[in-house]
C-alpha cells in the first residue's frame, strides 16, 4: 500500500483543494493516469498517479483543503504490497489494529468544527452537551450575550428537540436584522437549488473578500473620446485579421496605453506590503477572462515591451485557454496591474475590486456613440468611460487623476497615420 500526497503546485503554494476525484476505490490505474483535480489559488490541475496499481482508500474528500504533503489516497501497488507484508510484519500488524480504532472515534458523536457556528463563542459546557447529545449547534437558538448559546438554551433543545428546527425562522432573526435588512428578506424567500461553494468559486470568494476588506478603495472615472481609435481600428481590422489570423481588438489599444502610462506613473504599478510600498519593475497586465461560472485572471507579461499586435495576440491566446479551462498558475501569476474589459458585456460604468496585492484596477467600458459639444457645436462621437479603482493607502486622487488623464490623452491621440500596431 502506497500513499499519494498532495503535490506542491507552485512556488508559494502551501495547500490544495480536491476539486474532483477522477477515480474511485478499486479502480486500476497506470502511472501518469490522472487521479484527481486539485485547485490552488485559481488554477485547476490534474494530479497524475506516480504508480501502477489499484486505488485503495480516498483520504481527502472533494471540497476538502489539505496542506502540501498530506496523503490524499492510497494505492495498492502490485507485487510490492506482498513484499512489504513479508518484510515488515510488525507494521502490517499495526495497520488492522489502527483502522478499527479510527472507526471508533468516527462513530462517537463528537462535535466537529463544521458543526460549530462560525465566529461563535461556545462555552465548554455547551460544547460537551452538544457532543453528548449529538446536537448541531447551528440549529440552536442563542439567548445569551450577542446571541451566544447558553447552557440553558441547549438544555431546552435536549428536552424538546423540535425547538432546534424552529430556530431558523425565529431566533436568528433579531441578530440578523441588526446586521442587514437584506438578510432578513432572504429568510422569507422560498429556497431553490443549493450550490456548494467549492473550487474556483471559493477561491474567487476568498480573494474578493480579502481585497475588499483589506484595501481601502477609492474610485474615479473619466470620459474618453475614442472616435479616432474607432476609426483607426476600423481601417485596420480586416487586413489585420487576414494577415495575422486573429482579431485586432479595442482592448489591446487600451492595454498598450495603460502599459505605457504605468511607465510614467510607477506608483500605480506597486504593491502594499504593510510597512512598505514595493514599486514593481515589470509591467505585467492582468486581464479578466470569464468562462461559464469561472473567472480567471491571466497575465500579459512585460506588456510595455509589446506592440499592439503582440498584446492582441496574447489576449487572444489567454482568452481561448481560459475558455477551455487550460490556464495554469504560470499564466496567472505575477500580475502588477489589472485592466478589465467590462465593456465586453455592455457595461458603461463599474467599480472594480482591486486584484490583491495590486494597487489599482482599470475598467474599460463600452464604447458608445454620444452627442458631444466640441467648439460650441454638437458632434456625434464614440465615447468610452474609463473607471479606475485605487488602493488609497498607496495612491491619492491627484496621481490617480494624472495617470487616468494621460491614458485618456494617449487614446484620444491615436490615429491611422501615426499609430502603428506593429
Amino acid at each position: 500500500m502506497t500513499e499519494i500526497k498532495m503535490p506542491k503546485l507552485g512556488e508559494s503554494v502551501t495547500e490544495g483543494t480536491i476539486e474532483k476525484w477522477l477515480v474511485s476505490p478499486g479502480d486500476t490505474i497506470e502511472e501518469y493516469d490522472p487521479i484527481c483535480e486539485v485547485i490552488t489559488d485559481k488554477v485547476t490541475a490534474e494530479v497524475p498517479s506516480v504508480f501502477d496499481g489499484i486505488i485503495g482508500e480516498i483520504l481527502v474528500q472533494e471540497g476538502e483543503t489539505v496542506e502540501v504533503g498530506v496523503p490524499i489516497c492510497t494505492i495498492t501497488t502490485e507485487g510490492k504490497s506482498e513484499e512489504k507484508a513479508n518484510t515488515k510484519e510488525d507494521s502490517d500488524d499495526a495497520v488492522p489494529k489502527s483502522v478499527p480504532a479510527e472507526n471508533d472515534t468516527a462513530e462517537k458523536p463528537m462535535v466537529s468544527r463544521a458543526d460549530k457556528p462560525k465566529d461563535a463563542r461556545i462555552s465548554p459546557v455547551v460544547m460537551r452537551l452538544a457532543g453528548e447529545h449529538d446536537i448541531d449547534l447551528n440549529q440552536v437558538a442563542g439567548t445569551g450575550f450577542n446571541g451566544r448559546i447558553t447552557k440553558k438554551d441547549i438544555l431546552k433543545v435536549i428536552e424538546d428537540p423540535s425547538l432546534a428546527k424552529e430556530k431558523a425562522e425565529k431566533s436568528s432573526e433579531p441578530v440578523e436584522r441588526e446586521r442587514s435588512g437584506a438578510l432578513e428578506e432572504s429568510a422569507h424567500v422560498t429556497p431553490g437549488e443549493e450550490i456548494p461553494v467549492t473550487g474556483v468559486r471559493a477561491a474567487i470568494a476568498n480573494k474578493m473578500v480579502q481585497s475588499s476588506t483589506e484595501i481601502p478603495h477609492a474610485w474615479l472615472m473619466m470620459e474618453v473620446d475614442a472616435t479616432n481609435l474607432v476609426n483607426t481600428r476600423n481601417q485596420l481590422k480586416n487586413k489585420f485579421k487576414e494577415t495575422e489570423g486573429f482579431n485586432l481588438t479595442f482592448f489591446s489599444f487600451f492595454i498598450k496605453a495603460v502599459a505605457e502610462t504605468l511607465k510614467e506613473y510607477p506608483m500605480l504599478n506597486s504593491s502594499w506590503k504593510g510597512d512598505k510600498i514595493v514599486v514593481n519593475k515589470d509591467i505585467n497586465i492582468s486581464i479578466a477572462v470569464a468562462s461559464d461560472d469561472k473567472l480567471y485572471v491571466p497575465v500579459i507579461k512585460n506588456a510595455d515591451e509589446l506592440t499592439i499586435k503582440g498584446i492582441a495576440k496574447q489576449v487572444n491566446e489567454l482568452a481561448s485557454l481560459g475558455r477551455e479551462h487550460r490556464l495554469t498558475s504560470a499564466h496567472m501569476s505575477g500580475g502588477t496591474f489589472t485592466v478589465n474589459n467590462t465593456g465586453a458585456f455592455g457595461s458603461v460604468q463599474s467599480m472594480g475590486i482591486i486584484n490583491h496585492p495590486q494597487a489599482a484596477i482599470l475598467q474599460v467600458e463600452s464604447i458608445v456613440k454620444k452627442p458631444v459639444i466640441i467648439d460650441d457645436m454638437i458632434a456625434v462621437r464614440d465615447m468610452v468611460n474609463l473607471c479606475l479603482s485605487i488602493d488609497h493607502r498607496i495612491l491619492d486622487g491627484l496621481v490617480a487623476g494624472q495617470f487616468l488623464k494621460t491614458v485618456k490623452e494617449k487614446i484620444e491621440k491615436i490615429s491611422y497615420e501615426h499609430t502603428s500596431v506593429y
Binding site: 465548554p124 455547551v126 460544547m127 450575550f145 447558553t150 447552557k151
Partner: protein, 327 residues
C-alpha cells in the same frame, strides 16, 4: 427563640462555652473591665472573674504567644485582637508556632486556641480598621480560618472553634455586629468547620462569597428574583481550608460563577476558589469565572465616596450578577 444580633451571638457563644468548660478563658486588649471596644465580651469578666477574662498589654505577639503556651498546657484560650490588622505583630506566633506545633512534635503537642478579630470595612474606619486580612493566613496548613456571615453561624462556628483541638482564626465582620439580626437557638449547637453552606438555592448563576458580602449578595439576589432570575448563593463560612466539594457541586450546577470578596482582588481567597473551579469544572462552565472584589490599592480610604468606591455593596453585586446572567 429570641432575635439577636451577630455581636450578641458571639457573646452568647463565649458565655456558653465559658460556663460549660472551666478551661475556656479570654485574653486581649480591653476585653475585661471595658468589655471590649465593640462590647463583645461585655460582662464576662464580672461573671467569670479576672483570671478568665484577662486585660493584656498592647502587645499582640504577647497575647497570641501567651495563648499558645496556655493551649499547649491544656487550656482553651480565646484571644481577641482588637482590630484584625493589629494581628500582624503576632503572625510569627501564629504561622510558625501555633500552626506547626502538632506537626513539629509529631502529634505529642497541640494548640486548641481561638483567635478572634473584627475585620472588614464600610464603617468609616479607614486604614488599620477596615481591612480584610484572611488571605495572609489562608496558605498555612495547620490553621483553620472561619468567617461567619449570620448570627446563627457566628454562634455555632465559635463554639466549634473553641472545641476544636487546633488553632482556629475567627474573623467577625465589624459592620455585621449590629446590622445582622436573626433568631438564634439558645444553648448548645455547633456549625461544622470546613463546610460551606448554600444560603440560597438557585438555577441561573452561582455566587460564592463569605462574611458580610453574603448578606449583600442575598439582597441583590432578592431584587433580581423579581425579574425572574434565580441566583444560588454559597457561603464559604470556612475560607481555609476550603470546602472544595461544595464549591465544585455549586459551580457545576449553574455553570456560571461569580466570586465576591471585599478583600483586594489579587491573591484573595477568591483566587483559590477560582483555581478550584478552573481545575475541576471546565467542561461544566457556561461562562468565564467572574470576580468582584476591592481594588488593588493599599487600604480602605476614609473619605465616604472613596470608601464606597472600594467597598462591595448590594448594587455592585447586583450589576455583576446581571452581567453574568445575561452572558
Amino acid at each position: 427563640m429570641a432575635k439577636i444580633s451577630y455581636l450578641q451571638a458571639i457573646h452568647n457563644a463565649l458565655d456558653f462555652e465559658m460556663g460549660k468548660d472551666d478551661d475556656v478563658f479570654i485574653l486581649g486588649e480591653d476585653v475585661g473591665k471595658k468589655g471590649g471596644v465593640f462590647k463583645v465580651t461585655d460582662g464576662l469578666q464580672e461573671k467569670y472573674g479576672e483570671m478568665r477574662c484577662l486585660d493584656t498589654p498592647l502587645a499582640e505577639s504577647n497575647i497570641v504567644g501567651t495563648g499558645i503556651g496556655a493551649a499547649m498546657m491544656g487550656k482553651r484560650p480565646v484571644a481577641e485582637i482588637q482590630f484584625a490588622e493589629y494581628i500582624l505583630p503576632a503572625t510569627n506566633q501564629i504561622l510558625s508556632e501555633a500552626a506547626k506545633i502538632r506537626y513539629r512534635s509529631n502529634g505529642d503537642w497541640n494548640c486548641p486556641m481561638v483567635i478572634r478579630a473584627p475585620f472588614g470595612g464600610g464603617i468609616h474606619g479607614a486604614l488599620y480598621h477596615s481591612q480584610s486580612i484572611e488571605s495572609i493566613f489562608a496558605s498555612t496548613p495547620g490553621l483553620k480560618v472561619v468567617i461567619p456571615s449570620t448570627p446563627n453561624d457566628a454562634k455555632g462556628l465559635l463554639i466549634s472553634a473553641i472545641r476544636d483541638n487546633d488553632p482556629v482564626l475567627y474573623f467577625e465582620h465589624k459592620k455585621a455586629y449590629r446590622l445582622l439580626k436573626e433568631e438564634v437557638p439558645e444553648g448548645d449547637y455547633t456549625v461544622p468547620i470546613g463546610k460551606a453552606d448554600v444560603k440560597r438555592s438557585g438555577e441561573d448563576i452561582t455566587v460564592i462569597t463569605y462574611g458580610l458580602c453574603v448578606n449583600y449578595a442575598l439582597q441583590a439576589a432578592e431584587r433580581l428574583s423579581k425579574d425572574g432570575h434565580d441566583v444560588e448563593i454559597l457561603d464559604l463560612r470556612t475560607v481555609y481550608p476550603l470546602d472544595k466539594e461544595s464549591i465544585i457541586v455549586s459551580a457545576k450546577k449553574t455553570g456560571k460563577v461569580l466570586l465576591v470578596t471585599e478583600d483586594n482582588l489579587e491573591g484573595s481567597i477568591m483566587s483559590e476558589v477560582s483555581a478550584i473551579i478552573g481545575e475541576n469544572c471546565l467542561y461544566d462552565l457556561d461562562a468565564p469565572i467572574m470576580r468582584l472584589a476591592g481594588p488593588d490599592v493599599p487600604a480602605m480610604p476614609y473619605s465616604p465616596p472613596m470608601e464606597d468606591f472600594f467597598m462591595v455593596n448590594p448594587e455592585k453585586i447586583e450589576e455583576k450578577m446581571l452581567e453574568l446572567i445575561e452572558h
